[in-house]
Symmetry: none
Subunit: 197 residues, 4 copies
DNA sequence: CATGAATGAGACTTCATTCAT
DNA sequence: TATGAATGAAGTCTCATTCAT
């Protein structure tokens, strides 16, 4: 009953991910979501008060998992650089496992300074803060240079990751497995090692 | 013709910047632009075929200037690191001089993978390419490490800058002059020096 | 069956009275009624074929009682004026005992010339006819002037009562007991005595 | 230009009267109004912010005229009874000249205690107050009995008139000219003379 | 009897675009 | 050029009603 049965709410949420990813939040219609989910129009409004609420739910669900992953990395015994690597790895894998969902989150929420980004700013900032703490610990431990502001570095790190995701999103290609692994390394190398030779 | 007479077309473009920045492209109405410009509704359509065309014009106008600035930096005799600094400086100053315009370009075009970003992808990529060339030259000259892919580094650099702009946009505060200068340095330091101590 | 078990049908009808009175027939939802009654959504449709049918039932139930009261007054040995007083008294007491129900009947049925009023016109007219008979008897007995048309007078009388009820409904205040009694007298005095001094 | 030209706003208002009268405010669609007026759907919203606003406008326009007529009667040199007659006469003639408009005002506003009546309560009360003043003057002058409360009498008078209008509305017949005149007299006779013989 | 998920036809409102002046 | 009235296609959301359990 619990697993096999059609959980229509989940069905709608998953359909919304595909539709938002394909057409964009503003461009898609609620009926597109209902059609994609194979449910009646009205059922969408039975489970969600509005189209926005679907996006909110999607973001919140995923972001919570991500915050947990970040905090777990930060709480681990790993070296700061490895902690950053764990985070990059988690986000890249998130994209790998569900590119549509990550696309929606990045394009429609995280980078949308006008509407949803504003709404979820607090959540977003929380991620930066956790990453900034990792940097700060690295600086305190003497493995990271103290010249750079920890918060700035955290934002740079996250900005870097998002930029990579955005490139993947724009490219619309199937990313090969090696590339995922390669990029994880490159990301950390870039932020830690810098360009200077 | 150029000076005395009110250039209504310009008036409309400038008004559109403010309106797009304030309300977002999708959320604003054409009448909002006309009102902000103080011209009749219909005049907007006399000068532009559609609301989209206004945003396109805005982006293209500015992006051309930016590409020129990037190419100028790349063609200069400056050291690679200084070339990057010149670019960061130019973009930061662009934000400083007209934050609304940069907000519109970043939020509505550059980071909008579904709609306008897709349309202007080629233009956007051109900027990355120019920056990648700078990195490649630095690597050839031995001042930049060759471990990092030049294109990746260029995207990282631009991603960093956009992340900073996004923070400013989100913050909605008046950025003090020192911060602009400070960030310029921090940006280059971050991308070139990395975190490792 | 009749006493111990919860009569859900009655529960729904009583809840509908409160909901119709509070929100109006057109503005309320069937789910509001179910919620107010504390029963499942679908149960409303188990007992009633439609939202309209609930209002119909409410009206018919009450109107039957009222017609009986009017007819009883008309059949009594009382003087015509006292018969009118008995009717006014009955209606005022109806409001006193269940203002919500009377509000619903007056606002949604009796005065709703477009929808339900039309449906129940015959029932409504029956009340006027009984009252007109009282007036006619009074005229025949010489205690009422024959200048006024009996039917017209009956409508005037009922119109007067409804106007009073409407004022109470609009006022939204708790009507004190004395006012009920006072108005009963005033009503009869007005219709029988007139304004002329 | 001013008169002959199609004043679409007026066209819409007049069409709304017919549609509201025929179908009722809640039951009609905005498209019904547009169709009846022979204009495009959107034009309705060019002139009015909502369907409600159309009804508001209709009511306010007419009520203002009515208040003026009442005040004019009250300010005249006529005997109190004649003042009341002038008012009854004005309202009856209003119905005579535009029964649809009066139907809408009575059914959808004046007697609709739930929605619009509430909104316009103040305006409605103003009419009662003016009429109450007439009664009070009559009482002060000794031509009206002082036993009845002036406000109560005013409401009774207006209730009487509305009841007549409601009967006409319900009847859906073409009222003959004589009936209008006859009823004017009957109304005043009823309220002033009363039933007692 | 009882439940509440599921359905889908509408309704209102918005707004980009056109057009007559 | 300039104006703003006019158009009508869409889209969101509501909610009466049905139905499977």
């Amino acid at each position: 009953m619990t697993s096999g049965a059609a959980d229509k709410r989940r069905l709608i949420l998953d359909a919304a991910v595909r539709v938002f990813a394909r057409q964009g939040f503003h461009t898609c219609r609620v009926s597109d979501i209902a059609d994609e989910a194979g449910v009646a129009y009205g059922l969408v409004y039975h489970y969600f008060p509005s189209k926005e609420a679907i996006l909110d739910t999607l973001f919140l669900e995923r972001w919570e998992v991500m915050l947990a992953a970040i905090d777990e990395a930060a709480a681990s015994d790993l070296a700061p650089r490895e902690q950053l690597r764990a985070i990059a790895s988690f986000i890249v894998d998130s994209y790998r496992h569900d590119p549509d969902l990550m696309k929606v989150i990045v394009v429609e929420v995280t980078r949308a300074a006008n509407t949803f980004g504003r709404t979820h700013l607090e959540q977003i900032m929380r991620a930066y803060e956790s990453m900034a703490r990792i940097v700060a610990q690295g600086q305190a431990a003497g493995v990271f240079r103290s010249e750079v502001d920890a918060t700035f570095a955290a934002q740079a790190f996250y900005g870097l990751i998002e930029q990579v995701l955005t490139q993947w999103i724009f490219s619309e290609r199937e990313i090969p497995a090696e590339e995922f692994e390669h990029v994880k390394a490159e990301l950390v190398e870039m932020i830690c090692g810098g360009l200077d030779g």
